[in-house]
């Protein structure tokens, strides 16, 4: 009889302290996320030192809650999986140190997971039926990639961020127009009532024969446009944000569809914080229906940084016995 595998995942790459327990790779027993938005909102963005201090303040409480909710004991944990490969160094060290400590005290394996790998597996958690090869669009404040997934842990990056990721541009434009931080959800909400055709903004690099992304030009274009039109009598902020959002959504979908065609694939996962954007979801669904491909989104609670996705990726590494030593290091931006 196969023994059940319980992976404890830890994710502290940015401003969320998260610990999860996942059974056999797909059953989330707990996924506790302590968000730091309140700590950082008055600064209009993440302050790395404050973030690191907050991680350390809360990590024990998050661990306790994760164990309590999962209703298991430390002795039942099979292995510890931790993101050590992308994020703010000061934040990562808190999670990785805790992970090593658990592995040391419990004498169980330690598994290293790349943050992007975690996001890719967030969709495998939500949709275990996904088959390979498969395309994955990762889109958040820190990354924007198109990844061809041939099999478990066999990736090919076919498109990358040349400058600002889409989520970062959402946040910066939102802050510029006074919507605060984090800006993505605020723009998404406000834009529902807006006219997305009111203002035209460029769809960056959509006409180019590659799958890379560049959103910094759109950021400049949109903030300049805002300054120019904000005092017009017919100006409505929701029209502006809806138009800006549409430009990003069109670019992401357009690039993804080109990649699906080129690689002759019929399914795509959209993961990362921006995958929670309702406009992106609805437009992708429409496009998928029209052009006959499948699009998968993770459950909303798995779109932002979370440890369940790290634990899920960790499970598949556990099956491969892909373990790390206690001398595991941290990397701010290691290639996937």
């Amino acid at each position: 009889m196969k023994n059940d595998v319980y992976i404890l995942g830890i994710e502290t790459s940015c401003d969320d302290t998260s610990i999860a327990i996942v059974k056999n790779g797909t059953e989330v027993l707990s996924n506790i996320i302590w968000n730091q938005n309140k700590t950082h909102e008055k600064f209009g963005g993440i302050v790395p030192e404050l973030g690191a201090r907050r991680h350390l303040q809360v990590i024990n409480f998050v661990l306790e809650e994760a164990m309590k909710e999962a209703k298991i004991s430390f002795q039942e944990i099979s292995a510890i999986a931790v993101n050590n490969q992308k994020g703010l160094i000061r934040s990562l060290v808190v999670g990785v140190s805790a992970a090593k400590s658990l592995a040391l005290a419990l004498k169980i394996p330690l598994i290293s997971v790349h943050h992007i790998e975690g996001h890719i597996y967030s969709n495998i958690l939500s949709h275990p039926e996904i088959e390979f090869p498969h395309l994955c669009l990762t889109v958040s404040g820190g990354h924007n990639l198109l990844v061809l997934i041939n099999n478990h842990f066999n990736y090919e990056i076919i498109g990358n961020t040349l400058d600002d990721a889409a989520g970062e541009v959402f946040d910066k434009v939102a802050r510029f127009v006074g919507l605060g931080f984090p800006g993505g959800p605020a723009i998404d909400k406000l834009s529902v009532a807006g006219d997305a055709k009111k203002y035209f903004m460029a769809r960056p690099m959509l006409d180019q024969d590659n799958f890379d992304f560049s959103f910094s030009g759109l950021k400049t274009e949109s903030t300049r446009l805002y300054d120019k039109i904000k005092n017009n009598s017919d100006f409505k902020l929701e029209d502006f944000t809806a138009s800006f959002q549409q430009a990003i959504v069109d670019t992401l979908i357009g690039k993804s569809y080109k990649a699906l065609k080129k690689y002759n694939l019929n399914s795509i996962s959209v993961v990362g914080g921006v995958s929670a954007n309702q406009k992106l979801r609805s437009e992708f669904e429409k496009y998928a229906q029209k052009y006959n491909f499948k699009v998968y989104f993770p459950e909303l609670k798995l779109t932002t940084d979370n440890a369940a996705m790290i634990a899920s990726a960790g499970y598949f590494k556990f099956l491969n016995q892909d373990f790390s030593g206690l001398d595991l290091e941290v990397f701010t931006d290691r290639e996937l």
């Binding site: 302050v47 024990n60 430390f74 160094i89 090593k100 400590s101 206690l326």
Partner: protein
């Protein structure tokens, strides 16, 4: 009592070295790694190596003593996150000690300027006058020359790491902080240097 105790002393407060000492009754072993920012890579394996060399488990120890700083913020957080988690899993007793306390204990004085090197030629300092805290902050090497001249000065460095008596005294007095709430001794706010 001293010869019967088993404990670990962990110091990750200086970015230029890592110090771990294991006391197993009358046996004393330590690791002093003089490598810049090696704490992330070396702390956990070094603890493991020291314990294994004496055939000990974490739960065999009477307590762990953790340096709380001031010093390298990232180094301290690595120490704290590691020991807080060990405490959470094993419920091992933990005592914490500051570099200033260590200097006061070693030099048996409650009056002076107690200094710990920070980055960029600056120092964390405590000014104590007969045990009363007079001032604490970060100061440049140049500014330090000009002020508190009337007080004797004590510098924390790699020659000042041993603190057995202080640590045992804290253990015997059951001076155990709530490790859920324990944090490094930062001295300054986190937004200043960002």
């Amino acid at each position: 009592m001293k010869d019967k105790l088993k404990f670990l002393q962990i110091d990750t407060s200086n970015e230029n070295f890592l110090f771990i000492k294991l006391v197993n009754k009358e046996v004393q072993k330590h690791i002093l790694l003089k490598e810049k920012r090696c704490h992330m890579k070396e702390l956990a394996p070094s603890i493991n190596r020291l314990l294994e060399s004496e055939g000990l488990k974490i739960t065999d120890l009477d307590f762990i003593a953790l340096n709380e700083g001031p010093g390298s913020w990232t180094g301290l957080r690595i120490g704290f996150s590691t020991i807080k988690t060990l405490w959470q899993v094993t419920k091992i007793n933990v005592v914490t000690y500051s570099n200033f306390e260590l200097l006061m204990h070693k030099y048996k004085t409650k009056t002076g300027v107690f200094l710990v090197k920070s980055s960029n030629d600056k120092y964390y300092y405590w000014v104590l006058n007969d045990g009363d805290l007079y001032a604490q902050d970060v100061i440049s090497k140049d500014a330090l020359r000009e002020i508190y001249k009337e007080f004797p000065r004590y510098f924390y460095d790699e020659n000042e790491l041993e603190a057995d008596d202080l640590l045992i005294q804290k253990f015997e007095n059951k001076n155990f902080p709530d490790m859920n709430l324990a944090e490094p001794f930062y001295i300054v706010e986190g937004v200043i240097y960002n």
